[in-house]
Subunit: 202 residues, 2 copies
């Protein structure tokens, strides 16, 4: 069940039993759309269990309007709306340092559209950098299943110049400025290996 909601992100109920979504527009994108998030969740779980890092995805922000509260033991939300996030989706701690990132994917083959990032997320990354945190994005090209880590400073630079130049980042620029993340099995997307080599240089 995939729901496309106003800010362009997808929502997927990940716990059965999920009732029908009342949507005919489900599965507009392939399952790969969900896989980056799922892969990262599994990866973060691996890091947690092996005491390598404590990084979680933040809950989807929801504006709750109506709650039915028949008994103390049960509260049912009857009306709520998806809200735009004010931060990135993932954060946590790795070797004492603050880690913050957003993960996005595209079906494009040669560039990554900047519209995948919202103003709030961009400002958040700027603030994190200002506090000395480690901020980056994980970008996936779904067609070729290639994943890159790109430091947020580069993203901000492209984002700020998009009106003057182009509204996407060339894949060649990502290849040059970013770092390829190999897809494995355990953990699936071992981004901390890249983080360690890039941000924890001796």
């Amino acid at each position: 069940m995939a729901i496309h909601y106003p800010n362009g992100r997808r929502f997927e109920a990940n716990t059965p039993p999920a009732k029908k979504a009342g949507s005919s527009a489900t599965n507009m994108y392939s399952n790969r759309g969900m896989t980056l998030e799922e892969d990262l969740n599994v990866t973060n779980q691996y890091y947690l269990e092996h005491q390598l890092a404590v990084i979680h995805k933040k809950p989807t922000p929801v504006q709750i309007v109506d709650v039915d509260y028949p008994r103390r033991s049960a509260a049912v939300i009857k009306e709520a709306y998806f809200k735009q996030a004010s931060t990135t989706d993932y954060n946590g701690v790795f070797k004492g340092r603050y880690i913050d990132f957003e993960a996005k994917e595209t079906k494009n083959k040669t560039s990554f559209p900047l519209k995948n990032f919202h103003q709030h997320q961009i400002e958040h990354m700027r603030q994190v950098i200002g506090q000395g945190g480690i901020a980056f994005v994980i970008l996936r090209f779904t067609v070729t299943d290639e994943i890159y880590l790109l430091d947020a400073s580069h993203l901000l630079s492209f984002y700020d110049r998009q009106e003057q130049t182009r509204k996407s980042i060339r894949k060649s620029d990502i290849e040059q400025l970013g770092y390829s993340i190999k897809i494995g099995y355990h953990p699936r997307i071992d981004y901390l290996k890249v983080v360690e080599s890039v941000y924890f240089k001796k």
Copy 2:
């Protein structure tokens, strides 16, 4: 509109127009119950605007079961449930360091009940300490409006011993092991002042 949901936490819809909650058990606690969270949100906003720290409250975790999706521009959540959080409520970055905390209050006058903390939150704090992050709790005694910062290591110690000793932390222990936070106006709960003096010693 205050909803008390299963894990003992309160939910408050903070954006009008909020429809009636269908609850006769609202306002079981005084408004002070909400004020600690509100005060912290205002404080964090102050820190953000003054570029002192980037700390946010995580969204309330919600298990979404049914979404009505009549048009691409509108998705209405028709059935959802409050989920127990797997982490603490607040985290972020301050001077490059990872900051993680939970905020709780009690109407008790002489001790702080440990049942305010859930196993998941306790384990999360343990993991954060293991990664070298800064973890603490902000405790408020609502009757006297006193606020303390207590390092998570102390909380964990009391929590782990509660079956053998007592199921609450004496206020006198909090006074001795913790740090009083003065309530001000701008920012209201200046906990970073304490964080800086405790965790950033020269």
